[in-house]
């Protein structure tokens, strides 16, 4: 196994060995690499001050850039990638157009968030992953406490109009890194007196072997959860097996059972296909995390994690989905909802890992909605997330699949509410009964995101909203209204 991390910085090859594999890229930049331009505002992926650009080959063999949060990215995840930071952009004394535009529009005040915004705008300028959205969405993962964002959003437009400097294509340098051999690191932690291990298998078979060999290892995908175990909970991870270089897990395929999404597929790569099939799921994913989080995080990780407040499980359970798990050479399938056993407990054996999730196709009578409720619209964990799928023929509900996040210790189906709806006419009376039934389905809790009372009241109202939307009589989407003309 190869024992050094190989990556490009400013297009130049770098080699890194003998580091703690759970060192974050932010720590690496600010420390050993002495590039303090990239800032730490939160160390948990929420503020974007640490945004850097990672380049990797896309399906067409071209370098695709993605904005990611360096604070929750582990150093070995740079392997085989190109890294650009705020210090990379100037050519000689000339600012890059996005930098120039930020200066011109007065886009910085205290300047602490600015490097992160500049990198998000730079990736947008490179037509990077997840940037094909309005600028507010592209910048949803960058917090600024000073400006009010107007000048920064304007800078994006100004930059669009500025002449583009020549950029050096990093494809050949990237290819020349030669990372065909799998990366395997071992580092002696002087503090804990233990050896920390990292593996980046490059094939499914290799991954399955390693997972069996190290059944207690953390299987790592995008690190948008696991990163925080290290940076926030200060946990020491002994063995990490990263699936980010397992080619087989990074594919999506149309199968008879539906759209099969490999466990290594990141949100931003699955977004278009899912949004096309299930527009409401797309709308929810637009709000899930941020560009940076969706560029790293995987749907598989969201499921595997088993959090009661993950947004994909309720949405996918309602749509109908099958989870494929692999242990060594064997795979097994189970309905997604059956994976979640109890709080913090999933149906996954040691050494087993998630291989894929398959989203079942919907018939023509399918009425599908996903609702995400949170204090802030963008990049906020849901207080309640509802996935609602009803097959409705001539006003009759033939089948109902409803799942909620944030209402129980796991993502969970509202079986009593489903029963109240199935076989009934879709009308107000039926909806009232289903709302009543939610009280027997769930006993939500109070926490900092919402009270139990709000969770229950709004969950019911989301069923009502679905009904109103099916009727199509009232506008129900506050995100879609604009100011009235006088």
């Amino acid at each position: 196994m190869r024992e050094t991390i190989r990556f490009l910085l400013d297009g130049e090859p770098r080699e890194l060995g003998g580091v703690d594999p759970t060192l974050t890229v932010l720590q690496l930049l600010r420390g050993p690499l002495r590039r303090p331009g990239t800032k730490e505002g939160c160390a948990e992926g929420d503020c974007g001050a640490c945004t850097v650009a990672l380049g990797e080959f896309d399906a067409k063999g071209k370098v695709q850039w993605r904005a990611v949060n360096a604070c929750i990215l582990f150093a070995p995840m740079l392997d085989g990638r190109a890294l650009m930071t705020v210090e990379s952009l100037k050519q000689g004394d000339a600012l890059h157009p996005v930098q120039q535009a930020m200066v011109q529009t007065h886009g910085s005040q205290c300047g602490f968030c600015t490097p992160g915004f500049v990198m998000s705008l730079w990736v947008r300028d490179q037509k990077g992953a997840g940037c094909d959205m309005p600028v507010e969405d592209v910048l949803a993962g960058n917090l600024c406490r000073c400006t009010g964002y107007g000048p920064i959003a304007e800078a994006a437009a100004v930059a669009d109009g500025l002449p583009k400097p020549k950029t050096v294509d990093q494809a050949s340098a990237l290819k020349a890194l030669d990372v065909a051999e799998s990366l395997g690191l071992a580092w002696d932690d002087p503090q804990a007196g233990r050896t920390r291990r990292w593996f980046s298998p490059r094939s499914l078979a290799e991954l399955a072997d390693l997972a069996e060999q190290y059944p207690q290892a953390v299987i790592l995908a995008g690190a948008t959860d696991v990163g925080l175990w290290v940076t926030k909970q200060h946990r020491a991870l002994d063995t990490v097996i990263w699936i980010g270089d397992v080619a087989e897990l990074k594919t999506m395929a149309e199968t008879e059972a539906g759209l099969r999404i490999g466990a290594g597929v990141r949100y931003s790569d699955a977004y278009a296909a899912l949004a096309e099939r299930l527009p409401d799921l797309g709308e929810m994913m637009r709000r899930l995390g941020s560009v940076q989080v969706r560029n790293s995080g995987t749907i598989g990780g969201n499921i595997a994690n088993g959090s009661p407040i993950g947004d994909m499980p309720p949405a996918l359970i309602a749509a109908g989905a099958t989870l494929t798990l692999r242990l060594g050479g064997k795979t097994r399938d189970l309905p997604l909802e059956d994976y979640f056993l109890a709080y913090g407990k999933q149906d996954r054996a040691p050494g087993e890992f998630v291989e894929a999730v398959t989203v079942h196709p919907a018939g023509p009578d399918r009425f599908y909605r996903v609702y995400k409720l949170s204090k802030r619209f963008d990049q906020d964990i849901s207080a309640v997330c509802a996935g609602i799928a009803l097959d409705i023929k001539d006003g009759q509900i033939e089948a109902a699949r409803i799942a909620f996040g944030g209402m129980a210790a796991t993502p969970k189906r509202a079986s009593n509410a489903e029963q109240a709806l199935a076989g009934q006419a879709f009308d107000e009376a039926t909806v009232d009964l289903a709302c009543k039934a939610l009280e027997t389905d769930f006993a939500p809790i109070d926490d900092m995101r919402a009270s139990a009372a709000y969770r229950m009241a709004s969950a019911k109202n989301l069923l009502r909203r679905a009904y109103l939307e099916w009727r199509g009589e009232a506008s129900t989407r506050v995100l879609e209204v604009e100011a009235l003309d006088a």
Binding site: G111, I152, K375, R376, F377, D378, I381
Partner: protein
């Protein structure tokens, strides 16, 4: 007789041309290229220690035992500091002496600093801290305003401000209303958290880099903690990554600990709080509970008003006295109350000590009167704008509850102009109509004013110093007591100095604020940065300029009125010469080219014992119209359009001012909508990171956002007749809260005043909607 050329030059000079320009922030290019240095970016001297602060896990307890022997012997640990290790005074409070650096025999909030560990790495320091043996004996913890009221736990006696006989006037008034509103606190969420780095020097002295709005205070506190004189401590700050009041008193803790560690070990030491520790350990905006009552006539004009303001100050005094005073000062916002009784309670709780935050209590003070305006309008079936206009200060109705006469009110003209440019009346009508046909989504619109008093209310703080050097190559070095936290103070003051010398801005170098350059400074706070430091720098620059004029008269045989400075050139009689040439010649003729400047704000005085006087030099005004939409099924809400007209006097730098207005508004909007501080029943803050504490994101900015500057000069003699701009715009966001109130009221056909507390989260809005529905069904 001056020839026409000179006359032209002077005319040009009379029209300032550097001051008043939209000049970019002095650090903009460095910001965008990652080259602007914040304290954590300064290359660490080799051997720098990293410090971790161990915190109390209890809200209120006796500290029975604090045994750090295992910490001391842990791997990598260079020193452990407890209360016993402080050679001087174990206190970092700004006023009262009640903020121990390290807890002594008791702890009074979760997060209170117990001891510090300085180690080779932060991970080692953190790991070592866990080895301490801490034993507590829990004491009853008073966590909320209600509990403190019950326990009668206060930090100082309740204060009262009176104008006439409010109770009597209200009793006599044809109509009466009352209400209650709870107003949440707010975390500053500066993007750069608290940090200090200290380097030991000879003689036991120390140099401290501190992310502080108040270097002089940090200097005093560090010196006291070390038990040395002020002259042994230099505190320096080039820039902060945001402050907003959160770095007015709080940085002293980090600075003192870093300095103690540095002096004790003889090694540089750095203390940077991570986001969670920063949010848990350091103070925030005070949350308030306000009871109000008003008496008014059929036109909605106030006859009298009472306010009972109760705030959660936390475990210590900090600046709570002045903050709560300012809440009282702004209970009237822009309205003549006729008769008023304003009572303010400063409750002590076993939570973090709340502190300054943009607006300094003023925003909380204003909320109740704006609630009252909405309630009056709803009760009369009137447009709230008419009620607001009818109550503004004006001729003959100009006395505030604290005895200052409002001489400069432009609120009426400003609001009327804004109502017109924003089409407020038509849009309100359209919204009322729209709401009739929209069962789920409801809109609301509101136009609210802001009148904000400018000056520190502690009169002695209204002074500033500056230092200007002119070097023989004609370049200028500028230093003043103000700190740069993004608000553009450095560039504004540099503009003033460049203007005085008639030189281009590039020739003026702005240097880091440091206590060894300009001493005894006040915090950069109370929006006063450019008012005070601009004037002090003007004074310093003018002194040198005067010397240059005197010299030029001598040298070129002209009168002082024939000397002028513009375009890097000096005109002296018939002679025209480059500025640097005049400077060079002055130097050879032994003219002093360095000066200090000083300024103190005139006219102000205040007797706090009676709450009477003229605490404010002038008022800054503004108004905003906000249109919002709410979802009555979920409480989700959106601010759709905002129009602002704001008074900055004659702007020193319109681009910088617009930035302050927009940023302040969005910050205020966050305070009143999404930013919620949640404490549990053990007194632990549950929202201590951006994952749970939600400041506005890019898309929360209203899609349609129009900001305009009011175009009148300050009637008082301020720096180029400008007005302060730091804080007032935050309160423009009260228009969002009022608009949300209106939207909720629409479900009760605008007959019932909704009970809506701040922040108006989806949960609170849904609750208010359901409540109005229930009440209107009764």
């Amino acid at each position: 007789m001056p020839d026409s050329g000179q006359a032209k030059t002077r005319a040009a000079e009379a029209q300032p041309h550097i001051v008043g320009q939209s000049i970019r922030h002095d650090s903009a290019e460095k910001h965008v290229s990652g080259l602007a240095q914040y304290i954590d970016d300064i290359p660490e001297p080799s051997g720098t220690l990293q410090i971790y602060l161990a915190q109390s896990s209890r809200a209120h307890a006796r500290l029975l035992k604090l045994d750090v022997s295992a910490v001391r012997s842990a791997q990598g640990v260079a020193c452990v500091l407890t209360a016993a290790d402080v050679p001087g005074k174990n206190d970092y409070s700004p006023i009262m002496g009640d903020d121990p650096i390290f807890a002594e025999d008791k702890v009074e909030y979760v997060g209170q600093c117990l001891f510090a560990v300085a180690a080779e790495t932060l991970a080692q320091a953190r790991a070592a801290s866990a080895l301490a043996v801490v034993e507590y004996e829990d004491l009853p913890a008073v966590l909320t305003i209600d509990a403190a009221r019950e326990a009668d736990l206060t930090l100082e006696p309740s204060q009262v401000m009176r104008l006439g006989d409010a109770q009597g006037e209200i009793a006599k008034a044809p109509r009466r209303l009352w209400g209650h509103v709870a107003i949440g606190g707010q975390d500053h969420f500066y993007l750069e958290g608290h940090i200090a780095m200290a380097a030991p020097k000879e003689d036991g002295d120390v140099h401290v880099w501190s992310s502080t709005q108040n270097p002089s205070e940090v200097q005093h506190i560090v010196a006291k903690a070390l038990g040395i004189r002020d002259h042994g401590v230099v505190v320096e700050n080039r820039r902060m990554g945001g402050g907003f009041g959160g770095k007015e008193t709080q940085p002293s803790l980090m600075a003192a600990v870093a300095a103690l560690a540095a002096v004790k070990t003889g090694r540089p030491a750095k203390l940077r709080l991570d986001r969670d520790d920063d949010m848990v350990m350091t103070g925030k905006r005070h949350d308030f509970e306000v009871d109000w009552s008003v008496g008014f006539d059929d036109q909605g004009r106030l006859k009298g008003a009472t306010f009972d303001l109760a705030s959660r100050c936390g475990y210590s005094y900090d600046l709570s006295g002045s903050i709560n005073d300012r809440a009282m000062f702004h209970s009237d916002n822009a309205y003549f109350l006729n008769a008023a009784e304003i009572v303010s309670h400063r409750f002590k709780t076993h939570t973090v000590s709340n502190t300054a935050f943009r607006g300094f209590g003023g925003p909380q003070g204003m909320i109740a009167i704006e609630r009252a305006m909405d309630a009056i309008a709803l009760s009369l079936g009137a447009d709230p704008l008419d009620v607001r206009l009818a109550n503004l200060y004006g001729p003959g109705r100009d006395l505030t509850p604290y005895g200052q006469v409002v001489e400069d009110s432009i609120a009426k003209e400003l609001m009327e102009r804004l109502a017109e440019t924003s089409d407020y009346r038509k849009r309100r009508a359209a919204i009322l109509e729209w709401n009739r046909t929209s069962p789920v989504l409801k809109r609301g619109i509101a136009l609210t004013p802001v009148k904000f008093g400018i000056s520190f209310t502690a009169t002695h703080l209204n002074q500033a110093g500056a230092l200007v050097h002119v070097y023989t190559d004609g370049s200028v070095m500028l230093n003043h007591g103000g700190t740069e936290m993004g608000q553009g103070l450095y560039i504004k003051v540099a503009q003033v100095v460049a203007e005085v010398f008639g030189i281009e801005l590039e020739r003026v170098r702005i240097t880091a604020t440091a206590t060894d350059k300009v001493p005894n400074t006040s915090a950069t706070a109370a929006s006063s940065g450019s008012d005070l430091n601009g004037m002090a720098a003007l004074d310093a620059a003018q002194r040198i300029r005067q010397r240059l004029i005197d010299f030029a008269c001598q040298e070129f045989g002209c009168g002082p009125e024939q000397v002028s400075f513009a375009n890097n050139t000096v005109q002296a009689g018939a002679t025209e010469l480059p500025f640097q040439e005049l400077v060079r010649r002055a130097y050879f003729n032994r003219v002093g080219l360095s000066a200090t400047g000083y300024y103190k704000t005139p006219k102000i005085h205040y007797d706090r014992s009676k709450h009477q006087g003229r605490p404010f030099f002038y008022y800054a005004y503004g108004a905003a119209v906000s249109e919002v939409a709410i979802d009555t099924l979920t409480g989700e809400n959106r601010t759709l359009r905002v129009d602002i007209l704001h008074d900055v006097g004659r702007s020193l730098n319109p681009a910088i001012d617009l930035g302050q207005i927009e940023g302040g508004f969005i910050q205020g909007m966050g305070w009143l909508t999404t930013e919620e501080l949640v404490y549990d029943d053990q007194g632990r803050l549950r929202t201590h990171a951006p994952s749970t504490y939600k400041i506005p994101a890019c898309s929360d900015r209203p899609k349609d956002f129009r900001i305009d500057l009011w175009d009148g000069p300050n009637r008082e003699e301020t720096i180029y007749r400008s007005k302060a701009v730091g804080e007032p715009p935050l309160m423009l966001a009260i228009s969002v809260f009022s608009a949300l109130t209106q939207a909720v009221a629409s479900v009760g056909d605008h007959r019932i005043m909704p009970d809506l507390d701040a922040p108006a989260t989806p949960e609170r809005i849904l609750k208010a909607v359901d409540d109005v529905r229930r009440r209107s069904a009764q």
